[in-house]
């Protein structure tokens, strides 16, 4: 299971990084989103992979580590804030410069 999890994260990162290196704003934002998925999953896995052990007291006898979950929960919401911000930045750049190249140049 751990190997599969690690492989999945690798593929997510790879796709994300490749998109991050593109020249247009939209793929870069998509790449950022993919990378933030990978990062969230990675942080989450620091509490190890457990099946059927939610950190809710009284439901089951054993519990997984709640701390990484709390960290990742806010990270997901903040990650949305970041994605939204970079998207709107891309829109603004397109509005001002009339193209969607990451360096603000190049023909349309």
């Amino acid at each position: 299971m751990e190997l599969l999890y690690a492989l999945t994260l690798g593929v997510l990162t790879m796709s994300g990084v490749y998109l991050l290196l593109r020249a247009r704003t939209f793929p870069v934002v998509v790449g950022l989103t993919l990378i933030s998925y990978a990062v969230n999953l990675f942080l989450f896995a620091m509490g190890r992979l457990h099946t059927g052990m939610p950190p809710v007291i009284g439901q089951v006898a054993e519990h997984t580590d709640p701390l990484p979950q709390a960290l990742v929960l806010t990270a997901i919401v903040i990650g949305f804030g970041m994605t939204a911000f970079s998207l709107v930045l891309a829109l603004r750049a397109r509005g001002e410069l009339d193209n969607d190249h990451v360096d603000g140049k190049g023909g349309q």
Binding site: M1, E2, L3, L4, Y5, A6, L7, T8, L9, G10, V11, L12, T13, S15, G16, V17, Y18, L19, R22, A23, F26, P27, V30, L34, Y37, F44, A45, G47, R48, L49, T51, M53, P54, P55, V56, I57, H63, T64, P66, Q69, A70, L73, T74, I76, V77, I78, F80, G81, M82, T83, A84, L87, V88, A90, L91, R92, R94, G95, D100, D103
Partner: protein, 928 residues
């Protein structure tokens, strides 16, 4: 407490002139004077203790591990300097009231002046050397702003920059010196350092410490070869020059020299470094001053030379020399401040500072002329004035020292030569300006006496010159004794402060100096002719050139790595990250740890494969953006499933709702962006990017596996054990968010609100071209409000709101909580915008989302503060249980109020972002 107040008052008082600005110039000046006047009164209350020889220390611990304490110290030396800073400061404020013109922003000037005053007071009244360093840097920064006050003038900007670079650079050296000193002594408290002189001098690091500290002192006090910044700082308004270059800024250097005298002096190295630097500066300043045509330039070089004199005195090997140094600090501050102010009056009334044009002013302003003459005579060391007394003490000490062995006669010779030039330039200042024919082509003609009150500060200082000169024992004897005693840190050597010591060698030297000075002045034309032919270095040009070269070098470096291309920059960053983390990963003995892996089940394997396929598809199809977006949403959904699979129901819920909001957001944005990405990168670059991406993927996989197969130790036990008893909730994740780590959550919702506000600002006034159809030319559908969607969304709204309330209420004990409930509410509301349009939605509810987001943060913050009212630390929660029909027993904790804040922030921020993005379309249609 009183000592801290003396330093703090001007800092707090800096607000007053800003408030009073525009309500009358006199009110502005008066409000500025309040703080220094109060400081003077406070200082006076401490006078009796100081004069009794006590050292007052007030200390509050701050960062003990670093040896940093908020501690203040008042002894004779600090008292003297505080008196000069406050006293001359008040006179400068009065003077500046009349000096500044109506165009100059007065509030800003006085406010900066008070900040600078506070910084100077901090330097002279701190007990802790690290704290002193803080104030030291603050003097550099605030003097930078003061010198550059007339920011429209290029000279002022360049002068300010130069002084900042030189004194700031020296400040860095000083910081290093002080840190080393603290290491050697084991404490940064001045009392400890001053008592540890023997230890310091015997330590191997002593030479390094000394050189570093002296670098700070010499740059600040404009000693050779760092003196060049001071003449260029004359571009400042004259009140600033009068303050900075008489009693304060440049005196900070010699103050520190005197302060650390017991700790660092008394070695061969000290005597040689300090006295030689002092001698060179004394000579250079005095000689150059004579040849200045700008009278402020003359005064600037004269200041350099007098600072050299004080430095030289502190570098001589007799203890009396230190007493003379302190005495000269007092005298120089008084006569130089009055001379600068007189110069400012002349500048103000004639409109120029060129002594070749200003002549014969005696006829127009006899009162100012008299004052300037007395002050200049004091500067020249004419008997009956205070300058004479300390100069005579200086001559005596040059004859007493033996530190250069057989060459000791050099010191009195240098003193005499510098004295001669000092007489000559004082004479030139008086004779050229007030006599010597008629004014030549003055910008303002005829000049006349300034307003009464502009002369009052000069009169007070000139009166002091006379009083101190005639009755030194009565007026300044006591102050000098305590200040010199504090400098030497022990017994005072015996000396007598008197006008008349009988016929002796120093008196003869004084007379010779006066005569030769007059002679040199009469020969000035020939000397000037000779001086013009000397090679001249323009410090400003050289400095600007070097600065420019440095900037160019930095620009070249940046260009190499970044090259105005985000792609190149990104690949450098990624490669560096790969190399650094890859290197350390390879150092591990084995990548795979000892913990065995768990078994894979079929469903998980299938999901993982689909996730990977969707991720790869997103990357492969990124040119067809809508398709890539669909693939991205598939990835997001599988990530949510992964969280659910591995025991994280809260995360699964959050991911699911965030995912829907993200996709809606991206769809909205995509509407305004091209829906295809053109092929731009070469195959080579794509190959390179693929390699980087592949390496990053491998790195993350290996890292993840390496961690997951290693044994695991966590602090989770604490949270699990205390969640029910301490936080009153059984959903540990939620309890961590709103209770244990509430402060983090508080920060995170603040970030979210800030991001939303920034997006709101970015969208404000944005104009985007609205496409009429897709790339294939097919027009967008006419039916903008699909009937089914509208009906369904209205049906869903109350249901969704109910669910979110339910999720919110149960969040403390079961998966849910403010974040998730907020997201669900936001999605339900956004659905209305999407289905029914902005106009319809705005009609139904007019919520101000900015206020909603801000209100959420405020509620969360107030809940935290509420704990203070009951005497608990920030964000301590209280709880009890109540029963609600159908829902069951509900936890009613203050943490729930906090969670409400989280909820409101999330709803506010999400809607602020999305509703404004959605609003872009109608506005742009109106434009096109």
């Amino acid at each position: 407490m009183i000592l801290a107040l003396i330093v703090l008052l001007p800092m707090l008082g800096a607000v007053l002139p800003l408030l009073a600005d525009g309500r009358g110039r006199s009110l502005c000046a008066l409000s500025t004077m309040l703080a220094p006047l109060a400081g003077l009164v406070l200082l006076w209350t401490q006078a009796s203790a100081v004069f009794a020889g006590e050292v007052l220390v007030h200390s509050w611990p701050w960062i003990e591990r670093l040896g940093l304490h908020l501690s203040f110290r008042l002894d004779g030396l600090g008292f003297l300097f505080a008196l000069l800073i406050l006293g001359i400061g008040i006179l400068i404020i009065l003077y500046a009231r009349y000096y500044l013109s109506r165009q100059d922003p007065m509030g800003r000037f006085f406010s900066l002046l008070l900040v600078f005053m506070a910084a100077m007071l901090g330097v002279v009244l701190t007990e802790n050397l690290l704290l002193m360093m803080f104030f030291w840097e603050l003097t550099s920064l605030s003097s930078f702003l003061l010198i550059g006050y007339w920011s429209h003038s290029a000279d002022a900007r360049k002068g300010a920059r130069m002084s900042l670079v030189v004194t700031g650079g020296g400040g860095l050296a000083l910081l290093a010196g002080i840190l080393l000193l603290g290491q050697v002594v084991g404490s940064y408290q001045l009392s400890d350092v001053l008592a540890a002189g023997e230890v310091i001098r015997a330590h191997a690091l002593y030479p390094l410490v000394l050189v570093l500290v002296l670098l700070g002192v010499f740059t600040k006090s404009a000693q050779f070869p760092f003196h060049f910044w001071l003449p260029h700082a004359m571009a400042a308004p004259t009140p600033v020059s009068a303050y900075l270059h008489s009693a304060t800024m440049v005196k900070a250097g010699v103050f520190l020299l005197a302060r650390l005298y017991p700790a660092l002096s008394d070695t061969e190295l000290w005597f040689l470094l300090v006295s030689i630097t002092g001698m060179l500066t004394l000579l250079l300043g005095a000689c150059t001053a004579l040849f200045q045509h700008d009278f402020k330039g003359l005064l600037a070089y004269s200041t350099i030379s007098h600072l050299g004199l004080i430095t030289l005195l502190l570098g001589l090997d007799t203890r009396l020399a230190a007493v003379a140094a302190v005495f000269h600090i007092i005298n120089h501050a008084i006569f130089k401040a009055s001379l600068f102010m007189a110069a400012g009056i002349i500048d103000h009334e004639t409109g120029t500072r060129d002594m070749r044009r200003i002549n014969g002013l005696w006829r127009y302003m006899p009162h100012t002329a008299t004052l300037a003459m007395v002050a200049a005579a004091s500067m020249a060391g004419v008997p009956l004035l205070n300058g004479f007394l300390s100069k005579e003490m200086f001559f005596t000490e040059t004859l007493q020292q033996h530190q250069f062995g057989n060459y000791s006669w050099v010191v009195p010779l240098v003193a005499v030569v510098a004295g001669v030039f000092s007489v000559a330039y004082s004479l030139r200042f008086i004779h050229d300006v007030f006599f010597n024919g008629k004014p030549v082509n003055l910008p303002k003609f005829p000049p006349h006496e300034p307003t009464r009150y502009m002369k009052v500060p000069v009169e007070i200082l000139v009166a002091l010159c006379l009083l101190l000169g005639l009755l030194p024992g009565v007026t300044v004897g006591g102050l000098l004794a305590v200040a010199a005693g504090a400098t030497l840190g022990g017994e005072l050597p015996s000396y007598s402060l008197a006008l008349w010591h009988g016929f002796n060698l120093p008196l003869l030297m004084s007379m010779v100096v006066l005569l030769l000075g007059c002679l040199i002045y009469f020969l000035r034309r020939r000397l000037l002719g000779w001086y013009v032919h000397l090679p001249h270095l323009n410090a400003k040009d050289i400095f600007e050139q070097q600065t420019q070269r440095l900037v160019n070098l930095a620009a070249l470096f940046t260009l190499r790595f970044e090259g105005m291309s985000l792609q190149r920059y990104m690949s450098w960053m990624l490669l560096t990250a790969l190399l650094v983390s890859g290197y350390w990963l390879l150092q591990l003995p084995s990548l795979r740890g000892a913990v065995p892996m768990s078994a894979v089940d079929g469903a998980t394997l299938a999901c993982a494969l689909m996730l990977m396929a969707a991720a790869v598809a997103t990357a492969c199809w990124h040119r067809r953006r809508l398709l890539a977006l669909v693939m991205l949403s598939v990835v997001g959904l599988f990530v949510a499933l992964a969280f659910a699979r591995f025991s994280a129901p809260d995360l699964a819920l959050t991911q699911l709702s965030v995912e829907s909001v993200t996709i809606i957001l991206m769809m909205l944005a995509l509407f305004f962006l091209p829906d295809h990405t053109p092929v731009e990168s070469s195959a080579l670059r794509r190959g390179r990017d693929l390699v980087i991406a592949g390496l990053a993927g491998v790195l993350v996989s290996v890292l993840c596996l390496a961690v997951l197969t290693r044994p695991y130790d966590s602090i989770a036990g604490y949270f699990l054990a205390n969640s029910l008893s301490g936080g009153g909730g059984s959903n540990v994740v939620n309890v961590i968010l709103v209770d244990f780590r509430g402060f983090d959550t508080m920060g995170e919702i603040t970030v979210l609100a800030i991001a939303a506000a920034a997006i709101f600002a970015l969208l404000d006034g944005l104009r985007l071209r609205r496409p009429t159809g897709d790339t294939l030319g097919r027009p967008w559908a006419e039916d903008r409000r699909p009937f089914l969607l509208v009906k369904l969304s209205r049906l869903i709204l109350p249901l969704a709101l109910m669910v979110s309330v339910f999720i919110f209420l149960r969040g403390h004990n079961l998966p849910g909580g403010g974040f998730i409930a907020g997201l669900i509410t936001a999605v339900a509301l956004i659905l209305q915008y999407v289905a029914s349009g902005n106009a319809w939605t705005d009609q139904r509810w007019s919520l101000n989302y900015q206020w909603l987001a801000a209100g959420g943060v405020i509620i969360a913050g107030l809940t935290g503060l509420g704990a203070w009212a009951f005497g608990y630390p920030f964000l301590t929660s209280a709880f009890g249980h109540i029963g609600i029909a159908l829902v069951g027993e509900v936890e009613l904790a203050t943490a729930m109020l906090f969670d409400l804040g989280v909820y409101l922030t999330v709803v506010g921020a999400m809607l602020l972002i999305l509703s404004n993005l959605g609003r872009l379309s109608p506005r742009t249609r109106e434009v096109n």
